[in-house]
């Protein structure tokens, strides 16, 4: 095994690994080596400050902390029991995603060219993902995009060095629309309130297109687009109170969602008209009884409440709760999926090489098109020439368990991956506009 020297003076983990490499026997499976392999440096980029920290950045970062620790100690259940990535410990470097596109790109270049990280994992904001992808291609750096949902990453251009394990945002609203069709009979009119930026605009567009496919006679009454982080929604609530909708679609999350719900609940809106909250899961623990029963909730994937039962999920929830005293929400699951996908590809490439450390190209070749288990479900790298993952989706209805004082999701409906994701080779918007041809829903 080649012993590479890394020059990152700041990291205590590296010093520890260097020290240990002279003393401890190797724990990794795969032969009798006397030295510990050089660590894999991974740059983790997420929102550590600012308003996006609470809903995304902190759950993301927390998951990164415990998973890197557990992987380096080899305590993750099968099939991820090997230490780090293929026996090489992970040396993490955390970077804040806050700042302009120029700042984010500069920090990415710093990670790759100054700090020489082997892989970059992260990015919550779709705008940042779109800005980073071409730079990753230019610098030939293996990059796993984490939470951002835009379909444009792989649909605008094919990528070689960029992967995204987490399914993109199309399935959130396709599944929500299907669920709504079953839940409410005879839908004639609905409204929507989404944040006035790409995420809100795209979510609403996807939902409307799907509704048009499934139920052409349903019409839209009000489509509201308050500013992101507006905070004060009095006028919007009044508009919705005096409108005709049978339900209200919203892709609000965390801070805005909570503010909106407090103000709306104080005026009786959720009791009158049910809400469809496609990204609502992050706020359930904080809203608790303040969110009216009957709200339809999505978690951008079969995460947390929707996760399939598995030893991996039980373990993940336990270690997360033990450390942070709260349940992991979907951004934490998203991170777990990204890291486990990378690990699967890395170890597959390494096994193919007979146990020696794989190069970036070899990991890429191994990553394309694979399928692997995650705490929530199974992900398959099916779209974007094998670079974009898909998974099944689940939507449910909210119910606050007063006896046990905790939120619950009931009436969960699952949708197979190929039912709510576009087929290979078809762009999402074209797929939705064309009646979702090719969807396999049995």
């Amino acid at each position: 095994m080649r012993h590479q020297i890394r020059g990152h003076a700041h990291s205590p983990t590296l010093l520890l690994a260097a020290g240990l490499s002279f003393g401890l026997p190797l724990m990794a499976a795969g032969g009798a080596q006397a030295e510990e392999p050089a660590p894999v440096k991974i740059g983790f980029v997420t929102f550590l400050t600012g308003p996006a920290a609470a809903p995304f950045g902190i759950p993301d970062h927390n998951a990164a902390e415990i998973l890197v620790e557990a992987l380096n100690a080899g305590t993750v259940p099968a099939p991820y029991h090997q230490v780090g990535l293929g026996g090489a410990r992970i040396d993490p470097k955390f970077i804040d995603e806050t700042g302009s596109a120029a700042d984010v790109v500069t920090q990415f270049r710093n990670l790759v060219e100054r700090d020489h990280v082997d892989v970059v994992v992260g990015y919550v904001s779709s705008g940042n993902c779109l800005a980073i992808a071409p730079v990753a291609e230019e610098l030939k750096e293996l990059t796993v995009l984490d939470i951002c949902g835009t379909t444009r990453v792989f649909e605008e251009k094919p990528r070689h060095y960029v992967f995204r394990v987490n399914p993109h945002a199309t399935m959130d609203n396709v599944a929500a629309a299907k669920y709504v069709q079953n839940k409410f009979k005879d839908i004639t009119v609905y409204s929507g309130i989404n944040q006035n930026y790409a995420w809100g605009q795209d979510s609403w567009r996807d939902f409307r297109l799907t509704m048009k496919d499934l139920d052409p006679k349903a019409t839209v009454d009000k489509e509201l687009f308050p500013k992101l982080f507006a905070g004060e929604y009095g006028a919007e609530i009044s508009t919705l109170l005096t409108s005709d909708a049978q339900f209200i679609h919203s892709s609000f999350y965390d801070g805005d969602l909570e503010a909106f719900m407090y103000q709306a609940a104080a005026r009786g809106l959720p009791q009158r008209i049910p809400f469809v909250l496609t990204a609502g899961e992050t706020s359930l623990y904080r809203l608790g009884p303040k969110l009216a029963d009957g709200a339809i909730i999505g978690a951008r994937g079969p995460h947390s409440f929707f996760a399939h039962d598995s030893a991996l999920n039980t373990w993940f929830q336990k270690v997360y709760f033990d450390r942070f005293h709260e349940q992991p929400v979907y951004p934490s699951y998203d991170f777990a999926q990204s890291l486990f996908g990378l690990k699967t590809a890395w170890e597959k490439a390494q096994a193919k090489k007979g146990g020696s450390r794989p190069t970036t190209e070899e990991v890429i070749a191994a990553f394309e098109g694979i399928s692997f288990p995650t705490p929530s479900t199974t992900v398959q790298m099916a779209l974007g020439n094998g670079h974009q993952g898909i998974s099944d989706m689940a939507i449910g209805t909210y119910k606050f368990n007063k006896a046990q004082n905790k939120p619950e999701i009931v009436d969960i409906v699952r949708y197979p991956a190929e039912c709510v994701n576009p087929p290979v080779g078809v762009d999402s918007i074209a797929w939705l506009e064309g009646g979702m041809k090719g969807a396999k829903c049995d």
Binding site: A54, G231, R267
Partner: protein, 298 residues
């Protein structure tokens, strides 16, 4: 018909929000000619302080009326402490310098305080929803009005009247007004301008914190809430005129009603409304609605 009524009430609620946020800023600007970016931090600290202190109070089950009083007291205490620290500790050092430099000092203080908030309270959001529930609702046909919103409008109105009265009919208020008009003449008449500055800044800080505390029950108190209000406050102050409480009130009303109308009738332009109103007012009456045009001095 109901829509028209809704527009009026929504506009009033938003105007109350804007006024509470802007009134402290306009005073500081009028007296000290200082565009105080730290105002956003006062707002945020007031919100956090209220969310935590008042949240604990309501959780213990004490009577609601005391809770509201506590909100005001907490805000004023925070404003006092922060205001003194910033004014005595920081602004004192840069008073003689170029206006832009002083603004940048407040901007630097704002940046620092943003991270201080995260260090003290972490990145999670806090909720102070109890006051919202405690004030009930009022039904007008299909429209439901929140008692808390009505209270906010009343509170803003009272504050405007009190501030206006204080400026015109109390000794300190009149001293402040003189300094707003002309600092040099005020100093020439023996007014301790430096003390007036400190008191104004502290009052402005208290009002900013009060704005944050008053809004805390409606929003999710989280990182970054200070940033959004800065531009809103500036816009209202620019419209109403620097140093004019009536101007801030009227400016808030205009923007509030225009925005409410936009949301109900033409939602596409909601994002632009405040800037369009500001641009329009500045074009028609460059010094703001309520300030007298300053004669140019040779």
């Amino acid at each position: 018909m109901l829509t028209a009524f809704a527009i009026v009430t929504d506009g009033l609620v938003y105007a109350a929000y804007l006024f509470l946020v802007a009134v402290g800023l306009t005073l500081i600007f009028g007296v000290m000619k200082l565009l105080n970016v730290t105002h956003g931090s006062f707002y945020a600290f007031g919100a956090y302080g209220a969310a935590i202190a008042v949240g604990v109070y309501f959780d213990r089950g004490f009577p609601a009326a005391g809770g509201f009083l506590l909100m005001v007291l907490v805000a004023m205490a925070i404003g006092l402490v922060l205001g003194l620290i910033i004014e005595r500790g920081l602004l004192r050092l840069v008073y003689g310098k170029d206006e832009v430099v002083v603004v940048l000092v407040t901007y630097a203080a704002f940046l620092i305080l943003e991270d201080v908030i995260q260090l003290i309270w972490g990145a999670n959001s806090y909720a102070l929803y109890q006051p919202l529930g405690a004030t009930g609702t009022v039904d007008v046909g299909a429209l439901v009005l929140s008692g808390y919103d009505i209270g906010l409008v009343a509170f803003a109105g009272l504050l405007a009247v009190a501030a206006s009265f204080a400026l015109k009919h109390t000794r300190w208020g009149r001293l402040l007004t003189v300094v707003i008009f002309d600092r040099e003449i005020a100093a020439a008449f023996g007014i301790n301008v430096s003390l007036v500055y400190t008191i104004t800044f502290v009052i402005g800080a208290m009002l900013g914190a009060l704005g944050g505390a008053a809004m805390a029950p409606k929003i999710a108190v989280t990182l970054g809430i200070g940033v959004e209000v800065i531009v809103l406050a500036f816009a209202v102050v620019a419209i109403g005129g620097m140093g004019s409480v009536e101007g801030a009130f009227l400016g808030a009303l205009i923007v509030g009603e225009c925005r409410a109308a936009a949301v109900h009738l033409v939602p596409q332009i909601e994002l632009f409304v405040i800037y369009a109103v500001m641009a329009l007012v500045l074009v028609l009456r460059p010094q703001g609605l309520f300030t007298r045009a300053q004669p140019r001095k040779i």
